[in-house]
Symmetry: C2
Subunit: 334 residues, 2 copies
C-alpha cells in the first residue's frame, strides 16, 4: 500500500515462514504446527500487524463485511432508533455499517448507492421503497441481499421489513370516524418524494371516504415534522377550517405542537378538538395527556432488518416480506 504499514510479508519474513503460512496462522485456517503459530503470532504482536481487509476481500472470493445503510436523516429520532437497532445487530455479527443520508432525495440515494456498491458491500439496507429507475437497476445487478426497511413492500427488490403505513393511516381514520368525528384534518410536512407519511395520509383519507364522510382537510408544510410546525400548522389549518373536529398528525412531535396550540387558545382536548399522533415517540412521555397514537417498534424494525440481512448472507433467507406491525393506541386526546 502506501505508507509504512506492516504487511503480511514482513510478518512472515520476521517469523521465518512464507506469506501463506503466516496467512493460515492468522486466519486460523488450514494446517500449521503449534511452533509456527507461536512464532507468527509473536511477530504479529511485536510489529502491531493489522491485516488489510481490502486486500482480503479483493483476493478472496468472499464479500466484505460492509453493509450500506441509507436513512433519510437523523433529525428525526425515528431513524436514529432504527439505525441504532441495525448497527447493534450488525456489530454483534462483525459487520460494519456504511452510513448514507439521503435527505429524502431519491437522486441523492442513487448517487450513494453507486458509491457504496463500488465498495463491494455484503448487503444493503435502504429506508423507503421508492428508488429511481437507475437505482433499481443497480440494486438488482448487484447480486447482494438488499433490505428495504420502514415502508413495507410486498414486492420488494429483494426483501422488505416494515409496516404498512397506508393501513396505519386507514386504521386511524376508521378509529376517529368510529369515535364520531366527521370533520377531519391532517397536518404533516411534504418532502420531495412520495414517502411513508404520504401513504399514511392517503390511508387516512380513504378510511374517511369509505365511511361516507367527505370532509378532510390536508395541510402539508414545507418543514421538518417537529413541534413548531405542528403548532403553526394547527393554527393555519384551524384558521381556514374552524369547524374541524379532529386532527391526525404526521407524527407525535407535530401532534404535541398541535396540542400545545389548542391549550394556548383555550380549546379543550378532546372536547373541542381531538388530536392524534403517530409513532409513539419519546416526547409523549412528558405530555400531561395520554396521546392517541400509533405505536411502531422502531428499534426492533432496525434489528429485524439487520437480522433478515444476516440470514440472507448465511443463506437462510426464507420469506422476503416481513411485517413487524403497528398498534393503534387510543388515548385521552380523542
Amino acid at each position: 500500500m502506501n505508507n509504512n504499514k506492516i504487511s503480511l510479508e514482513e510478518v512472515a519474513k520476521a517469523a521465518g515462514v512464507s506469506k501463506m503460512t503466516a496467512s493460515r496462522v492468522i486466519r486460523n485456517k488450514g494446517s500449521f504446527s503449534e511452533k509456527t503459530r507461536t512464532k507468527v503470532m509473536a511477530e504479529v504482536e511485536r510489529l502491531g500487524y493489522l491485516p488489510n481487509r481490502l486486500a482480503s476481500v479483493f483476493a478472496g472470493d468472499i464479500n466484505s463485511t460492509f453493509v450500506g445503510v441509507s436513512i433519510p436523516d437523523l433529525g428525526n429520532e425515528v431513524f436514529g432508533l432504527m439505525l441504532e437497532g441495525i448497527d447493534r445487530k450488525l456489530g454483534a455479527f462483525s459487520h460494519q455499517s456504511i452510513l448514507g443520508m439521503t435527505q429524502h432525495a431519491l437522486n441523492q440515494e442513487e448517487a450513494w448507492i453507486k458509491t457504496v456498491l463500488s465498495w463491494q458491500p455484503a448487503g444493503l439496507i435502504l429506508t423507503g421503497r421508492s428508488h429511481t429507475q437507475k437505482s433499481q437497476a443497480m440494486l438488482k445487478a448487484a447480486g447482494i441481499p438488499i433490505v428495504e426497511i420502514w415502508d413495507l413492500n410486498s414486492s420488494p427488490i429483494d426483501m422488505s421489513v416494515g409496516i404498512n403505513h397506508y393501513d396505519s393511516g386507514y386504521e386511524m381514520g376508521r378509529y376517529l370516524v368510529g369515535k364520531g368525528y366527521r370533520k377531519l384534518g391532517y397536518v404533516g410536512t411534504s418532502h420531495l418524494t412520495a414517502n411513508a407519511a404520504t401513504a399514511r395520509m392517503n390511508g387516512f383519507t380513504k378510511a374517511i371516504e369509505d365511511a361516507g364522510s367527505r370532509f378532510t382537510k390536508h395541510l402539508c408544510l414545507h418543514d421538518n415534522p417537529g413541534f413548531y410546525p405542528g403548532f403553526y400548522g394547527t393554527e393555519q389549518l384551524l384558521a381556514s377550517s374552524p369547524d374541524i373536529e379532529a386532527i391526525f398528525y404526521q407524527n407525535d412531535n407535530m401532534a404535541v405542537g398541535g396540542l400545545n396550540y389548542c391549550e394556548t387558545k383555550g380549546q379543550k382536548v378532546p372536547d373541542d378538538i381531538a388530536i392524534a399522533g403517530w409513532g409513539d415517540l419519546p416526547i409523549l412521555s412528558i405530555v400531561p395527556y395520554k396521546m392517541t397514537t400509533v405505536r411502531v417498534p422502531h428499534l426492533r424494525l432496525g434489528r429485524m432488518a439487520a437480522e433478515v440481512l444476516l440470514d440472507a448472507l448465511h443463506g437462510n433467507a426464507t420469506r422476503n416480506s416481513y411485517d413487524v406491525g403497528f398498534i393503534l393506541i387510543p388515548g385521552s386526546t380523542t
Copy 2:
C-alpha cells in the same frame, strides 16, 4: 472478483481498447480521443459497469474515502445531531462514514478501531478522549488524521474538536452560587467509563467548593439520561436531602423530568427549588418554562470535526485543538 460483476477489462474489450485506455476515460485522466471516450462510455452505460473501488484504492497510492466515526449510542439525540453534522459534511466531499457504536465501552471501541483500521480508512472521528492503551497505540501507528470530538482535548492523539465540559460544569456551579444557592445537587447517570458528563459534574463540584460552600449531593443512576431517570432521580435525591435548593442535571431531558417531579409535588420552580439542565436539547421547546441550560452547538460540532478532518486530508491542518465553545443560558428555572 467473485460473481458476475462487470470488470473494467470487459468494458475495454467491448469498446475495443485496452484496460488502461478505458481506465483513463472513466477517470477522465490522461489523454484520449473524443471518439474513444464515446465508445468507452457507451459500453460503461450499456454494461452497467461500476468500478471496484477496493481495487482502485489497492492499486493506486491513494487512501480510501472511508472515514470511521465512533459514537457511544444514538439513543441520545446529542450524538445523533453530531453524526448528522459529520456525515453531511463528509458526504458533500465524497467521503463515507463507517459507523461504530461503542455503547460507552472502551474495549468495544478498541475492537471497533481494530476492525475499521483494517479497512484502510482515510481518517477517523472518535467521540470522547479516553481510549485504551492499545487503542492509542493503534491510532498513533495508523498514520491517518484522527479527530477526537465532544470532549476537548488539549493534547489529543492528533486533533480535537469539542468543548470543555469541565468548564461548562464549573460555570454552571458558579452561576448558581452567584444566584445565592448554597445547597446544591447533581443528578446524572453513570456509565462504565469516565466521560464528559462526569467532567461536568466535577467542574460543577469544584466551582461550589471554590465558592466556599461544601454542600453538594451527587446522584448517579445506572440508566439512560432521559426524562424518567430525571424524574425518579430527583425524587430520590430530595428524599435523602430535602433541603437542596438547586439541582444541576446531566442534560435537559433529565432536567425536564426533574421539573416535572417538582410540579407534581407542588414544589415551586424556582422559588422552592431551582433546576438547571445542559445541552439546550429539543425537549426544551415544549416546556412551559425557559430552562436554565448550557447551549452546545451539536450539529456544528460534527460539521467542524468533519471539516478539520478533511482539511488534514488535504494537507491544510493548522491547529490541533478546536474549542467550539458553549454558552450558559439563564432561564426562569433558576
